[in-house]
Amino acid sequence: MNWAVNSPWALTGLLLALLPLFNSGMRTSPAPWTALIPGDTLSAFVVCCLRLCAVAAIAGLVLGMAGLHRTEQSRERIGHGAHIVLLLDRSSSMDNTFAGRAPNGVDDGKDAGGTPPRMGKVEQRMERLPRAMHGAIAEESKATAARRLLTDFVKQRQTDLIGVAEYSTSPLFVMPLTENKNAVQAAIAATATPALGFTHVSKGLGMAISFFEQQPVTGSRIVLLVSDGAAAIDHDSEQKLREWFKQQQVRLYWIFLRTAGSPGIFDQPEDSRDDNAGAMPELYLHKFFLGLGSPYQAYEAESPDALKQAIADINKLENLPMHYFERIPKQDLSAVCYGVAAFLLLVLFGVKFFEVKR
């Protein structure tokens, strides 16, 4: 309980709270001799209560004006879960479908031709089924699918600390590790804005790892890389990443959203001339990750369904007990103060009507 006020000088007004102790605020009637009136405990009690009400009302108003608040605090919590950093690819190819085309909106009936309107609804429902295998009609983009599934994933992982980072030409800091799921959801939803140019995965990874720097090592630490392509990592970055992965004890999950026809992670080059990082960046990135020395798992998802499967896997795997501090933000109590004061004033106002004038 750490209480604080915004403007301490306003607390001098608390002296005013003593006023009701000296003045009852009631109109007095003259009485020839009050000693003749027998003593009454209930009256004394009521009067005492009213005075306290008045004191509390004034104190409430003053504290409200002074801006009483509870400072930021942290609460120790133990749960099952992980520290997860979602590292999302924001390259423009993510806005395409798994088939490598631009998404054509929700069920415009491109292939269905003259489908009657009531058939449209059926198709809309059908759309949630995986269709990449047999030619999409109206597919969602990879980014949308990732967004939808990650949102569900975050919903399931209630006890985790989740952070979000993105990368394209350069890494984007979106959301530090937090237990606030609404914020994470919002951060994921914010990826709906159109994507940017290139894929600079090493810097993105660097940033994702940097999220763990200020955190205690508890539970498991996961970087969940969601991307649809890769890029070559230069030698210096490779060195640094190796070091950081080891230092921070981070597990890496790579969900590779494979576009139909593009090279996959596990594809071996047919021609030995193509066997270099420039021609097959996915393979080489995979190889680099394998060689990191920290636990690593890659999933190649060719459809939203496969993506779902990959996320379900991670969900199952990463449930170690962990120990963390939940941060409770600064709470402004002035509204409570004003509310209490208003209530007490209302009570006193009501009592005023109860007052007998003679």
Partner: protein, 278 residues
């Protein structure tokens, strides 16, 4: 001012001057008092032959009659702050004028002793027969707003004559009973008629429900009460108990009090005065 207080004395006045009340002096009265030797009261018209014959010393016996005498009437008034409540002050002034008029009608002398914290000379009126002075005093009293306590009552006896007088004690008796005992003890040489002035507003006209804040007129202390029927009944009972206590004390000092609670009325006082003689 046509109303008159018909006060009579159940005792004999020691005043020399002839008046309207039974006195200790002998003179031109109708009530036979005793026989005296002719030499003591040389009025041959009153010689009682039968008594003279029976007298073993063979002297002339003369019948003497009781002379109606005057009596000094005093009004000792409590002028504490509590007497300023409601119409008590007006009642005091009305009673002052009525009593003075009655006394002058009977040919008696009237004096006034006003008691506040102590006895001030401007509120003293020595026994006399000047209606003008009484009226002037009444006008002054009308302008005065009463304050302080009634401690002066204990010293009032110092301003009374040594011979027995008729004393009206007009007060609301809102002071401790011990003080009342002291006052009555000091006034034992005199014939005291206590008039206790209360108003029903004080205790009977309270509300059944509500918060009411009372300020004591003398001590200025404030008391806030949460009124409810049970508590109202309690206050009423307390006043009744107070009335019983006061009566008890007054009777212990040989005077029957009159409680004026439902407005001042000369007839009520007259009835009381007649009861006490009968």
């Amino acid at each position: 001012m046509t109303e008159t207080l018909h006060y009579r004395l159940p005792w004999q006045s020691s005043a020399v001057y002839p008046g309207a009340h039974p006195g200790q002096m002998i003179g031109a009265g109708h009530l036979f008092k005793r026989h005296e030797p002719l030499i003591a009261s040389p009025d041959p018209r009153r010689i009682d032959l039968r008594a003279s014959v029976l007298d073993p010393f063979s002297s002339y016996r003369v019948r003497v009659y009781q002379q109606q005498s005057t009596v000094n009437v005093y009004l000792i008034a409590d002028m504490s702050a509590s007497m300023g409540y409601a119409d008590k002050q007006q009642t005091l002034i009305r009673f002052l004028l009525t009593a003075a008029n009655s006394a002058f009608d009977y040919g008696d002398k009237f004096g006034f002793i006003g008691c506040t914290e102590r006895i001030e000379h401007r509120w003293l009126l020595p026994a006399g027969q000047h209606l003008g002075r009484v009226s002037a005093l009444a006008t002054q009293l009308e302008r005065l707003s009463f304050s302080g306590s009634a401690n002066g009552l204990q010293n009032a006896v110092a301003f009374l004559p040594a011979e027995r007088s008729l004393v009206f004690l007009l007060s609301d008796c809102h002071f401790p009973l011990s003080q009342l005992r002291a006052v009555l003890g000091s006034l034992q040489d005199h014939d005291v008629i206590p008039l206790v002035l209360w108003t029903q507003d004080e205790y009977a006209a309270l509300p059944n429900w509500g918060l009411i804040s009372f300020q004591d007129m003398e001590s200025h202390a404030t008391r806030t009460l949460f009124m409810r029927p049970a508590f109202r009944q309690k206050i009423s009972t307390a006043y009744q108990q107070r009335q019983r206590d006061l009566k008890h004390i007054f009777r212990a000092f040989g005077s029957e009090p009159l409680f004026i609670t439902e407005g001042y009325n000369t007839q009520i006082i007259n009835r009381h005065l007649q009861q006490r003689v009968a």
